[in-house]
């Protein structure tokens, strides 16, 4: 008997997934796919990433040979134009015809374009395909202002894309009184609106566009309230329209407002024809998300292979990140009193809005909305979907338990049943994930993704997948080890102790004794940092020089273009007029750009590699030394002017800052660390934002630890109060050595503390009460480091072998790199832009 032939119309995400699922079950059909677009199926969910560097190839769902390997015939750029149901044939754009036994519509949807006068003008786009994106990015080059019609999920994605394309002013026009009207309520919309406004987006709600103005090319939008907005381009994202025109033309039943009507087997009014994805209308509803589309593909593929599965609707819960803002809705998100009880948490200061709807008996979670912080989403969704009985205080689900330090997430996953659907895109349950980990086939997230496909769709479930993996590994008693790289099967802490015990002094010795192969850019700087923390020898000693990170290698910071910047130490930020003059003279002589840093010193930019040694020599002669701005070690100890001048000052903060900076200068650590001393509680030195900070009190000093600025600012926590200067320094000594010995690579003190079991209470016990019995050893170790301090710049310029390396060309030592370019700006030089886009 001849193999039955299946024709799939449409090569989008759902069409592709159907082929994949069918082929994983059987080889026995002949499959032909017709696509209208010129490329293989791609990830439309992450389409906007096309604008931040992903290529069409990155977005592609399959490899070039996939269809061939699966014995599937794929026609691209060749849409089906007509269907003859009587003879079971399709005709394509290039005139050929093909017979089918089974026909599958996976035609998806197109952009819904409202009938506004002027819609045909140049500069008006839809946001649907890679081709649309190419047109938009081409036009955006000459546009300064843009609007998006549609404040739904896709409209906000489109607005983000316009910001990424460098449009100066982007506005969103929404007909409804709120943003994302299908997902969030009015209060959630208000919160989202104010967060989007902070990012420079202009939001207009309740706006009905009546015409698009302009002579051939769009120049403005007119609204029913007679207002006008000038725009250079417009992207329409006002919803989707199922692609049912072919079905309609051949007499297959479609819905009044579009969509090919299907039953629970995805079958249309013609028993030989099926429809899946966004073109299918089930029970009066179009399912415009990827997960239900994949479920439809699964249902059809199963039934074609004599299985029995039905599509009975789908959970439309979603979580996404819009321009960095979490937005999520789940379950019955809009249900209100008296049908439920709602619990609402709103924090306008942080831009967080959370609403959960609880059944009237307080037993079950019905649904909810999260804006600004959706970390609880997966757990809430599971609690709602699996009808897990709520705890006594359900508000803790969105507020976190107060008082206890146990995070809500960790305990939550253990309570889920094995049938809980974790990845709804690929239909993977908690049981599937735990089983794949438990049988030993997956020990990391990449394996797990390959083996179960969990997290390969929208990716929203990945944090929970990781938690489940860790939980399963731990419950099997497996030790989860943080190894450095393929060359060292140790954690940083283990390596620290091993190097210490074996008294290893160079990278090669460490690699020979404890590692394997040739090393790499991960383990080299890490080992170099450990060697420096342990022995404090010159870091550019032969052999160790090539194992240093870029900046340590040349004792300066490499900048855009390949020049370096030079920062001499200015302890406590105190500097004499004579020294200021020297910095000015050196900068002038070597044509350097100067800028005051955030750490109360002066940075000189634009030095050629060849000039570094002579610049340092001149600085050293005037009494300066290296400021270690390039190293993972102490940067600056900032200070306010203190009691010597300030009428509020309680103690001499400058003197104490200088003492501390000179004590810890040059000490290498897992990451950079900073400090500050304030002379009174007004805190002008901002000590509470530092790795360790000191604030004067009436009785002495308060010591704060583990704060930082940077991408994730965190305030330092109070470790001890009213200390005398000696005790304060003793505690800092212990604190630093504990950090240096135990932190993971490139971990600041704040993150180190966040990961520490027991938190600040534990740390206080170790530092103040010496609960580990290590204090004396640490104090001894840090005294050795302090005693062996030498200025690295001085050692480098005085050692001919090291100094020789400060030239750009080995065969022309006098020549500087001719490709370094500077341009003028505000009377100084600056580096030329990257030569790439």
């Amino acid at each position: 008997m001849k193999e039955p032939q299946i024709i799939v119309i449409g090569n989008g995400m759902v069409g592709y997934k159907f082929c994949e699922k069918l082929r994983s079950k059987t080889k026995s059909f002949k499959i032909i796919v017709f696509g209208e677009e010129p490329r293989r199926a791609y990830d439309r969910v992450h389409l906007s990433e096309y604008f931040n560097g992903k290529t069409a190839d990155d977005l592609s769902l399959s490899t070039e040979n996939w269809y061939q390997e699966q014995d599937i015939t794929l026609f691209l750029n060749n849409p089906v134009t007509q269907i003859d149901r009587e003879h079971r044939k399709v005709y394509t754009a290039n005139g050929a015809d093909y017979s089918y036994d089974i026909l599958v519509f996976a035609t998806g949807s197109g952009a819904f374009v409202p009938n506004i006068p002027g819609i045909e003008k140049d500069g008006v786009f839809v946001y649907r395909t890679i081709e649309d994106l190419d047109l938009i990015s081409g036009y955006a080059k000459k546009a300064k202002t843009a609007s998006v019609i549609g404040g739904g999920l896709l409209g906000l994605e489109a607005a983000k894309a316009l910001i990424d394309l460098g449009i100066e002013k982007t506005s969103i026009i929404e007909f409804a009184p709120r943003l994302m009207p299908r997902q969030i309520d009015a209060a959630g919309s208000d919160m989202l609106k104010s967060k989007l406004a902070d990012l420079g987006l202009h939001i207009h709600l309740n706006k009905n566009t009546t015409s698009i103005e302009g002579d051939g090319r769009i120049t403005a939008l007119k609204f029913s309230d007679d207002t006008v907005i000038d725009v250079d381009m417009l992207v329409i994202s006002a919803g989707i329209k199922p692609r049912d025109e072919l079905a309609k033309a051949c007499g297959v039943e479609v819905g009044a407002r579009g969509g090919i009507i299907v039953n629970e087997k995805m079958q249309t009014s013609d028993p030989a024809i099926y429809a899946i994805g966004e073109c299918a209308l089930y029970d009066g509803m179009i399912y415009g998300l990827i997960a239900p589309g994949y479920e439809m593909a699964e249902v059809l593929a199963t039934n074609l292979c004599q299985g029995d599965k039905a599509f009975t609707g789908f959970d439309m819960s979603t979580k996404l990140k819009l321009i960095g803002i979490d937005v999520a809705s789940f379950g019955d998100n809009f249900i209100t009193e008296p049908d439920c009880r709602t619990i609402i948490f709103e924090n306008k200061h942080k831009g967080v809005y959370k609403r959960i709807n609880v059944s009237n008996d307080g037993q079950y979670l019905l649904g909810g909305i999260l804006i600004g912080d959706a970390t609880a989403y997966n757990l809430l969704l599971q609690t709602s979907n699996n009808r897990i009985v709520l705890p006594e205080n359900p508000e803790e689900l969105i507020l976190g338990a107060r008082g206890g330090s146990e995070p809500a997430g960790g305990a939550g996953i253990t309570g889920l049943p094995d049938s809980a659907l974790i990845c709804s895109c690929e239909g993977v349950t908690k049981g599937d994930i735990c089983a794949a980990v438990a049988d030993g086939s997956c020990e990391n997230i990449d394996d797990l993704k390959k083996c179960t496909k969990a997290g390969t769709g929208c990716g929203g479930c990945l944090p929970m997948v990781k938690d489940l993996m860790t939980y399963t590994l731990k419950s099997q008693g497996k030790y989860i080890k943080n190894v450095i790289c393929e060359h060292f099967n140790y954690s940083r802490q283990e390596l620290f102790d091993l190097i210490h015990i074996h008294e290893l002094k160079s990278y090669d010795e460490v690699l020979d004794a404890l590692g394997k192969n040739d090393g790499c850019e991960v383990c080299k700087p890490l080992v170099s940092s450990l060697l420096a923390s342990l022995w404090n020898e010159m870091i550019l000693k032969k052999g160790n020089d090539v194992a240093q990170d870029s900046n340590d290698r040349f004792l300066a910071n490499i900048q855009k273009g390949g020049s370096y910047s030079v920062v001499p130490r200015v302890p406590g930020g105190e500097i004499t007029p004579d020294k200021l003059i020297v910095i000015g003279e050196v900068a002038k002589k070597y044509n350097l750009y100067t800028k005051i840093t955030g750490g109360q010193r002066i940075d000189m930019f634009g030095a050629h590699l060849n000039d570094l040694p002579i610049i340092w020599e001149e600085l050293i002669a005037a009494g300066f030394e290296s400021g270690h701005a390039y190293g993972k070690g102490l940067r600056t100890v900032k200070s306010c002017v203190g009691s010597t001048w300030c009428r509020f000052g309680l103690h001499d903060s400058v003197s104490f800052a200088i003492r501390i900076e000179e004590r810890y200068r040059g000490i290498r650590a897992p990451h950079k660390f900073k400090s500050a001393v304030s002379g009174c509680i007004r805190e002008c030195a901002e000590a509470q934002s530092k790795d360790f900070g000191i604030i004067a009190t009436e009785k002495g000093w308060n010591l704060y630890v583990c704060g930082n600025g940077g991408s994730k600012p965190q305030h330092a926590l109070l470790l001890a109060t009213d200390l005398d200067s000696e005790t304060c320094i003793q505690y800092i000594d212990r604190f630093l050595m504990f950090y240096i010995r135990t932190a993971d690579p490139l971990t600041r003190t704040a993150t180190w503390l966040n990961k520490m079991e027991g938190g600040i209470d534990y740390l206080r016990n170790v530092i103040i009460n010496d609960s580990l019995g290590m204090a004396a050893q640490w104090e001894n170790e840090i005294e050795n480091l302090i005693a062996s301090y030498k200025c690295e710049w001085k050692e480098a310029v005085e050692n001919p072998a090291i100094r020789k390396r400060f030239s750009h060309f080995v065969n022309a030592p006098e020549d500087k790199d001719p490709t370094i370019e500077f341009v003028e700006m505000r009377g100084q030089k600056r580096t030329a832009e990257w030569k790439t886009l």
Binding site: C520, D549, S550, I558, R805, H808, V810, T819, W834, K835
Partner: protein, 115 residues
């Protein structure tokens, strides 16, 4: 491999940096020369990192992944195979590689790229 007729005398063996790189001037061009002492191998590549067009590869750290010798650009740690020039960080860009030979203590670089 293309036939090599032009050999540039780059430097003495003792001027090269053990397990590291130096930059060699060749007219307007810059070539990075690596002495991978640990493997007793020599490699030469273009000095420019194609990612942001920076003359920097000779200042990068070298190492290996499985057995593939590689260099990491000091700017953004993109890594490239020293033997084939292929980018190992998943990008499309590749770098030119050149043959190297040692005669009487002098390092010669063949100035017609291998790839």
């Amino acid at each position: 491999m293309k036939e090599q007729s032009n050999w540039l005398a780059a430097c003495r063996v003792e001027d090269a940096i053990e397990n590291g790189g130096v930059c060699v001037k060749h007219g307007e061009e810059q070539i990075a020369l690596f002495y991978f002492t640990r493997r007793n191998e020599w490699y030469a590549t273009q000095n420019e990192c194609p990612h942001k067009k920076q003359m920097a590869l000779s200042r990068g750290m070298i190492g290996s992944t499985t057995d593939e010798p590689k260099v990491a650009c000091p700017f953004h740690k993109k890594t490239f195979s020293l033997s084939t020039g292929e980018c190992l960080s998943g990008d499309e860009c590749a770098i030119k590689t050149y043959p190297v030979k040692i005669e009487n203590g002098t390092v010669y670089i063949g100035t017609t790229p291998k790839s």
